[in-house]
Symmetry: C2
Subunit: 192 residues, 2 copies
DNA sequence: ATAATGCGTCGAAAATTCTAAACATTGGAA
DNA sequence: TTCCAATGTTTAGAATTTTCGACGCATTAT
């Protein structure tokens, strides 16, 4: 009943996944078939993993939910355990003593999102060798003045200022001021 | 050459998308066919959008790249335009005068991520009817005390405290204190 | 030049999926 | 209980996709 759908288990089987999704949305095979403009028999066969639907069929079916193909393959119904975290409970993930990076939540697979509360002491510098894989990053400065270099562009960000870029562009964060900088950042998908 | 793959254009056509991906990875139809264990003719037909491949075929083909189905449908090669934003440039997206939600970046499709700087005046309340589709959300309180209700759980979050949950769980944010609350939140995929 | 190789495309046959109409099972109402 | 409606399953045949082999067109080597 409390169906858990993780990416690594048998629900890699499209049919299994479709069945779970359909049930989560409270639809019967026939109702979904009607909305999607396919037959209930087709849905039955697919859900039993007896056939592998064409993209066009699967798309029609998902349109009846509605759910995009991207969401369908991305979706993940792993149970969310803890929801709230005190400032103390944010887990430190930085090795550099001049930089604190405290992450919201545990280091779990299957997250869509990662959020950090970062503190840069005066003089702190990430260096520019770091070039994370894929994804996108975003951040807002909360306190202090942070010097951010993204590719060839560089800017000083004051409290309230923000950035957004694709993570595969080389980037560098520095605190050239004399007070600590606090930055709240987010990346998707998570990079740690 | 600078192939741009956006979600709304013709590359919604699976074949068009596959062709771009294949070319980006520098593979010929035959080479990919060999790796994937299908025939080059099949790939040719698919890329011309003359047939709609079965999931099993598409999966075999993507395994030859290799690329997951989820990534295939999620992938996005749109260029990143502006990178930096001053606090003024964050675009306001809230209608409620008691709540300010200022978003980093423009309202573009194809982003992986959305980040907001939210301000709740004393008494502000999102109500609990809001139930965004899909995705996950995360936030850190920067100032004030925010009362957050997620499903059946409720908690008062002070500066530094945080939350993380799946967006389809009903949720509600309230400022029951007498000073404004500042919250930095992030969701993936973006909900506006 | 000419041959040789590699590319994407095409056509008919083989394989697979989808439809349409049945069947089987369940659960509730009379 | 008995009937009834709703659900998921099955099957033969129609529709679609995939394979196999051949073709035309480039580019490169001989």
């Amino acid at each position: 009943m409390s169906a858990v759908l993780k990416n690594e288990d048998a629900s890699e089987e499209i049919g299994t996944r479709l069945k779970l999704v359909r049930q989560i949305f409270g639809l019967t095979q026939r109702e979904l078939a009607r909305r999607a403009g396919v037959t209930n028999g087709a849905i039955s066969l697919i859900e039993q993993n007896r056939v592998s639907p064409s993209i066009s069929s699967l798309k029609k079916i998902l349109d009846g939910i509605p759910l995009s193909l991207a969401d369908f393959f991305t979706l993940n119904f792993s149970p969310s355990d803890n929801v709230f975290f005190t400032g103390e409970e944010l887990t430190e993930i930085s090795y550099d003593p001049a930089i604190s990076m405290r992450m919201v939540g545990r280091r779990v697979k299957d997250r869509a999102l990662q959020m950090l509360r970062e503190t840069y002491q005066p003089g702190a510098d990430t260096g520019d060798a770091m070039l994370r894989h894929g994804g996108e990053e975003c951040g807002i400065v909360v306190a202090g003045c942070l010097t951010v270099t993204i590719g060839v562009q560089e800017k000083q960000l004051n409290p309230g200022d923000a950035y957004y870029f694709r993570s595969d562009i080389p980037h560098r964060f520095r605190n050239q001021g004399n007070e600590p900088v606090i930055l709240i950042s987010s990346n998707s998908p998570p990079s740690f």
